[in-house]
Structure formats: C-alpha cells, structure tokens
Symmetry: C2
Subunit: 112 residues, 2 copies
C-alpha cells in the first residue's frame, strides 16, 4: 500500500536533539529546557514531544542511553552514536535545502 513519505518539514525536533547532543551527553528533561534556550525561546517542545523522539532515536540506533543516578534520582543520559552523527548531517542538509527554498520563494519580488 505504498507507505507515505514523512511530511516534508518534519524532523526538526529530531534535528535539534541531535545537534545538542553533538556537544555533550544530556538527559531528557535537560534537553527540553535547552531547546527553548538555544532557539531563543522561538521553539518550545514539551516533554510529550521530546521523550518519544528520544526513544525512537535510540531504537533506530542514532542514540545510546545510559542510566545514571544523580542525587537520589535517576537520569537517562543520551549520547550520539556514529550513525547518529550521520543522521545529523543528513537532517542538517535537508534543513538547509528547504530553508533556502523557502527563502528564495519569499524574497523573489516579482518571480514572473
């Protein structure tokens, strides 16, 4: 039944997560706040978005998880795998492409 391609603009949460984890390992709750910060409050993704994406990235092999007890609580730290770095590069390219495309469309004054 010809499975549908993912929507052309999806994967931004994924992109942001991978990008943040490129610097250092982080845990979910931390990533939620961090996305708000690094995007200058422009993008705010709740835990209901982030956690499922993290799980799916782990299942697909882009991330590996590590449980680490910190002050009585247990955090789940995620870090990039080699595959994850590749995935990040791909998503970054995709993003550039559509971003440039939209920019072109918006800036052309009289595109004929």
């Amino acid at each position: 039944m010809a499975k549908t391609n993912p929507p052309f603009m999806s994967g931004v949460p994924e992109l942001l997560l991978l990008r943040l984890l490129k610097n250092r390992e982080m845990y979910g709750y931390e990533l939620v706040r961090s996305i708000r910060e690094v995007t200058g409050e422009a993008i705010s993704l709740g835990e209901g978005v982030i956690y499922p994406v993290l799980h799916s990235l782990e299942r697909s092999g882009s991330l590996k998880a590590r449980r680490k007890p910190v002050g009585g609580r247990t955090r789940v730290y995620y870090s990039l795998t080699k595959q994850g770095r590749g995935r990040l590069a791909d998503l970054q390219d995709d993003w550039r492409r559509i971003q440039t495309g939209i920019e072109t469309a918006l800036e052309s004054p009289g595109h004929a």
Copy 2:
C-alpha cells in the same frame, strides 16, 4: 476538551501560497508547479495538499476565488483579500522567528 495548537512548524504550504498570490492571481494547478519552481525544486507539494489548503484559505476569508473559462476549460483563480495580506504578514513573521531560532541552535558551536 482543550483544542490542540497547530504543530509549531505547520503552515508553510499556506505561507508559500499566499506569498505567490501576493504578486498576481493564480489558479491551483499553476500554483502546484510554481511552488516547485520558486523553491528551486526543494519543495514539491502535490495537488492533494494544495487544493484543500486553497479551499480552507477561501473559507477563512484570506482568498477569494473567481471561476474563469480559458480555452474551453474552467480555471479557478485565487487572489489575496485584505485579510489574506494580514495573514501572510503573520505567517512570514512566524517563519522568521523559528527559522532564526533553528539557525541559532545549529550554529552555536559550544553553547555551554
């Protein structure tokens, strides 16, 4: 039942359509090809995406439609209303905001 907000990155098809129609009135089939062109092939939205969006923009008062017979066929030409121009400005602002936010996130090398 607390209606859900639209997904944070949606409305790009809407934005592109309104932007193209800012220049001149166009018809659906034409808009489908035009989006591919002006985005440098980066974005390709099928008729199954475009027509419903056009209809919804008309219903919401951003566009007005005009049936025009051309060479035996009938085309439906759409043009921006005043409200549509306002909507375009809003969507453009939204886009800038998130675009900038993502750019910031991607470019920060060691964001601490």
